[in-house]
């Protein structure tokens, strides 16, 4: 039985006791899947499992507070579930986790770029076929094959958790671990190579086109403030309505700092950005910092205490300056 069929079987069994089960289905075109909310048995057959399941369905869980729901997760998504459980934002008894081994998902932006390089528009995609190591997209009647390694999401290239860290129903064979991960993601490496003034210019360049839709925030499973985010409140009034780069970047700093020690690097912030702003690099850098300072990784242990909510009398890796 395929992973997909096994998942469907398990979901059908559990569905009667659940408000709904969150997964993925086909979207408006061949290149896009979209979240699926299974409320009846007929919906189960819409379920998809594969490289186009780019979304992190954990983002929806806190909104079902008090109701018992099921969620289908990839390995990376499961870390968000763990983090939500750790922060008591969802209740373990109220969530049933379905999962299967994940062979990686595509980064639609990378696919778009590949198509553009071939003179095609992703907006004309007609067919997508994924077989193991190759993704083939047909657009405007022309098929373009691209190696999965070149269009996979950054997180997949360095994936430590292709299998869920926490699941109630894990079906099929576990997916193999990623071998020979790159030392650093390309975006982080590019920023690392820049001088400090160049980095300022970099953010000035990219944040300028931010439209402040807050998709980065709302797609983030850890942004639980959501409707009460300080970005849009007057009490407190952290950000003005002025659409300057300063204010826009400040929001990214708010988002990143609020995620320090909580971010599982699922990449939804950047994937969601309609303006293709590389906001994930900030979180990647911060995660690296948190790891260096506190030897901590978010979303792997429900019982862990986030590093910024605790302290040591003598810190191992913080050296205070002398005057």
């Amino acid at each position: 039985m395929s992973r997909l069929d096994a998942l469907k079987t398990r979901i059908k069994e559990a569905l009667p006791g659940l408000e709904c089960v969150i997964g993925w289905q086909k979207g408006y075109d061949a290149l896009h899947n979209t979240p699926l909310f299974i409320r009846g048995e007929a919906d189960v057959d819409k379920l998809e499992w594969g490289a186009l399941n780019v979304h992190n369905p954990a983002v929806y869980l806190p909104s079902f507070a008090g109701k018992k729901v099921g969620v289908v997760v990839k390995g990376c998504d499961s870390r968000s579930v763990v983090e939500l459980l750790q922060e008591k934002l969802i209740d373990r008894d109220n969530v049933v986790i379905f999962s299967a081994g994940c062979d990686g998902v595509v980064d639609i932006a990378k696919v778009r770029a590949k198509l553009a390089a071939a003179g095609l528009n992703a907006g004309n995609a007609e067919k997508v076929a994924v077989d193991g190591k190759t993704v083939t997209v047909t657009a405007a009647g022309k098929a373009v094959s691209m190696p999965m390694a070149e269009v996979a999401a950054d997180k997949c290239l360095r994936c430590q958790f292709p299998n869920a860290v926490l699941a109630d129903a894990f079906v099929g064979d576990p997916a193999p671990q990623v071998q020979a991960a790159p030392a650093a993601d390309a975006d982080l490496a590019a920023l690392d190579a820049m001088s400090v003034p160049e980095r300022m210019a970099f953010w000035r360049y990219h944040m300028d086109r931010c439209i402040r839709c807050y998709a980065c925030r709302n797609a983030c499973p850890m942004c639980v403030c959501r409707d009460h985010c300080i970005a849009q409140s007057r009490e407190p009034h952290w950000l003005s309505q002025e659409d300057s780069v300063t204010e826009k970047l400040m929001f990214q700093v708010v988002h990143a700092m609020h995620l320090a020690g909580r971010c599982t690097e699922c990449g939804e912030c950047q994937r969601a950005c309609p303006m293709d702003i590389p906001v994930l690099a900030l979180k990647k850098h911060l995660n690296r910092t948190i790891h260096d300072l506190f030897d901590y990784q978010a979303g792997v242990d429900v019982a862990a205490i986030p590093p910024l909510l605790q302290f040591k009398l003598e810190e191992d890796n913080i050296k205070e300056r002398s005057w």
């Binding site: 909310f37 439209i211 807050y214």
Partner: protein
Amino acid sequence: MAAVKYIPREKLPEWLKALAAQSRVLVPVEEGGSVVFRQYDPARAPVFGSDATAPPKGAVFPACQELFSYAYGKEGEDNAPTLKLDPKTEAQPTVVFGSKPCGARGFLIFDRVYMGKKFPDPYYIAAREATVFVTMACATVENTCFCHWVGSGPADAAGSDVLLTPVEGGYTVEAVSEKGAKFLDNPALTDGAAKAAEAEAVKKASRDALGEAPDIASSPAALLSLFDDMEFWRDQSDKCVSCGACTYLCPTCYCFSITDEGTGTAGRRMRSWDACMHFQFTLEASGHNPRPTKAHRLKNRVGHKFSYYPTLHDGLIACCGCGRCVKSCPVSVDIREIVQNAVAKAKG
């Protein structure tokens, strides 16, 4: 209507430079993978091939605009309180060059609200009158395009002043409005009669590529009939994450918010885009929110475009079918699907 003119592709910079000498010229350029409208810079080649990620909405209706500055003070021996106001209504002459028809058509929806008799908006009127749209008809269409659903099309000139159509080697140029006619007076433009037929063929081809539009004429009534069907709206909005991408990138969304930004006793009154998908949009001072869930808010977004607005404005749908809300949505919420679902559901 004036005769069709023609401009070869390589002459475009010449025309743009001439225009830029007289006014602000905004053209679509690539920036970090997105296409946005920026002031024309000969060093940056405009991108006319694909539809801009963000429409040229900000050219007339900025994302954030200072309405006036204010300062409270004291004056004279008796310390009489004073308030100084400094309104900023003047608008800069602007040419929006290379927008797709849907980008310009959006302002038709604005015009009825901000240039109507009831509440004329001086800021909008000044900017609108100072802006000329030189629009580029679509030679190709995308999966998300649905302009033909809402009474528009890939070569729709409504809302534009000049219409360009890409043809072999260049573009045909047609004046659509009187304002636009003045813009054709440039040596780079030659007679385009010979290219007219080819241009018409391009227009037809892209229109044909869109295929047949479904009948959504009943959408105003259908959506109204589903107003209280919250289960329907829950199902439609399940996957929505309540961000503002659809709204801010929509050429027809015209809602705004007003805030005072200042420290101490002086500051500025700002008008900025608002998004009905955000919780804050209808949040009342008491803390009560008449649209507390994303289901309420999505219902409003779809209802406003396909029911409430057309009901008030002679059946004009407040959507130009550009498909940005579909394409840019992080979770691919598809407004076409919702409207069709509503129509189907209302039929029973």
